[in-house]
Amino acid sequence: MIKRHGIFLSACVCVFLCVVAPTMAADEAHGASEGPNLFTGDLGNIFWSLLTFVAVIGVLGKFAWRPILTALQKREQFIHDSLAQAKSDREAAEAKLKEYEHRLQEARTEASAIVDEGRRDADVVRQRIHADAKSESDAMVARAKREIALARDTAVKELYTLTANLATSVAGKIIQKELDASEHERLVSEAVAAMGDLQSSGR
């Protein structure tokens, strides 16, 4: 850019020297001796340059650059702190999430264990109740059978006795003969024994 600038400048200066300079020759003839040139300057320029430059450095250094530098540094620190804070917050959140997930997993395992245990317990209880009921009903059936057998035996015995008495009295009437008490007793016993044999052979 600067190089091209310089080339263009050189071209313009050449044109100027060829075309414009002759027209100015008359003007230059008047006061060329005392006019300024490109390097006009003196100690005053050094003084003013130093004064203005140092004043700018001094005043701006205090009232502009210090605030701006402080603001830049503060902002840098703020951004740095914010990023660090965000990073640590994220790490903490991730750790917490991991912990919660772990806890949730534990709770789930525990819950299923509890359900399993409950199911097992219920099974045991069910089986016990079933067994108890079965044994009780068996016992009831057995007792009923025993009672039935007893009642039957009693009824049979009473039937024998009644049958014998009837038979004896019928027989006595038939033979028209009064049997004495001892003879009556003997006949009944014989009849019962015979009936008992009849029953056992008939069973």
Binding site: I2, H5, C12, T23, M24, G35, N45, T52, L60, L72
Partner: protein
């Protein structure tokens, strides 16, 4: 108008016009000239406006307090750029110590450059003559197009280099002037000293030449109108005038860019030279000095 254009030297725009001077020649003392007035205006503008621009509002919350507003955004973005992109890589830990000087150099040169672009001279000619009847030229022009001004700025930079080189760089800075075996010192030390002076000289001449070049270029372009008018009459003057105005607008925009660019280059080289004097990396070049 055409007479003035034809008669004036294109370099008139870049000369220093002294209105009041005590003594003669280069050892005299210029009390008032167009350039000194421009420098004072630039310094006053900076001193009065800059603290207002950079003032941050206090809103009470941390984020609002750290947010610039208005023109402060512009100033701060430049400052921030110069600090992080230019100064920090060069000056490292010393950045915040020297950054006020770097910023001052940038904005001072920039303000003087930009004021030089304002066409103040025709406007202020009458006013100047009313105060200084002998004045040939009004206030205006680029003070950075004055080699005395740029040299002074460059010498201040050299002062910063030498003083801080000795204070912070210490023996490293002194040893830097003899980067070879000791018996070569009589040869190397003058070369290194000349090198330092050349850097400073280049700094001054670069700014001076660039500012002069742009202004001369614009003046030469404008003078073509008068030349063509004299040679071919109104038609020639108008025809060339249209071209010259278009090209002048483009070159004024280029000058605007150059004003920023040269301020940046001056600042960048200032930071670089200070950095070279105070920040030493232990490379082969340095070890050779011991």
């Amino acid at each position: 108008m055409t007479h003035i254009l034809a008669a004036s030297n294109p370099l008139d725009h870049v000369y220093q016009w002294i209105y009041l001077k005590s003594g003669e020649g280069m050892f005299g003392f210029t009390i008032v000239s167009n350039h000194t007035i421009m420098q004072i205006i630039a310094a006053l503008l900076l001193i009065l406006l800059m603290p207002r621009f950079v003032r941050l509002r206090s809103t009470g919350d941390t984020v609002g307090d750290l947010t610039p507003r208005g023109f402060g955004n512009f100033v701060e973005s430049i400052c921030s750029y110069l600090r992080t992109e230019v100064a920090k890589p060069i000056l490292g830990e010393y950045t915040d110590r020297f950054i006020p000087f770097v910023w001052s150099a940038f904005f001072y040169v920039l303000a003087v450059n930009l004021l030089g672009l304002l066409p103040l001279e025709p406007v202020t000619r009458g006013l100047t003559r009313s105060v200084f009847p002998d004045a040939h030229h009004g206030i205006g022009g680029s003070a950075t197009g004055n080699i005395w001004v740029t040299s002074t700025l460059a010498v201040v930079t050299m002062g910063m280099i030498v003083v801080n080189g000795l204070r912070i760089g210490g023996m490293h800075f002194i040893a830097h002037f003899c980067p070879g075996p000791l018996w070569l010192a009589p040869l190397l030390v003058p070369v290194e000293v000349i090198g330092l002076v050349a850097k400073i000289f280049a700094l001054a001449v670069r700014l001076f030449a660039n500012m002069v070049a742009g202004h001369v270029l614009l003046a030469v372009l404008a003078s073509f109108i008068a030349v063509m008018y004299h040679a071919y009459g109104w038609l020639g003057g108008t025809g060339v005038g249209i071209v010259v105005v278009v090209v002048s607008v483009a070159f004024n925009l280029l000058e605007l860019f150059v004003a920023f660019l040269q301020a940046f280059i001056f600042t960048f080289l200032t930071a670089l030279f200070i950095g070279q004097a105070i920040v030493f990396h232990h490379d082969g070049h340095e070890e050779g000095a011991h």
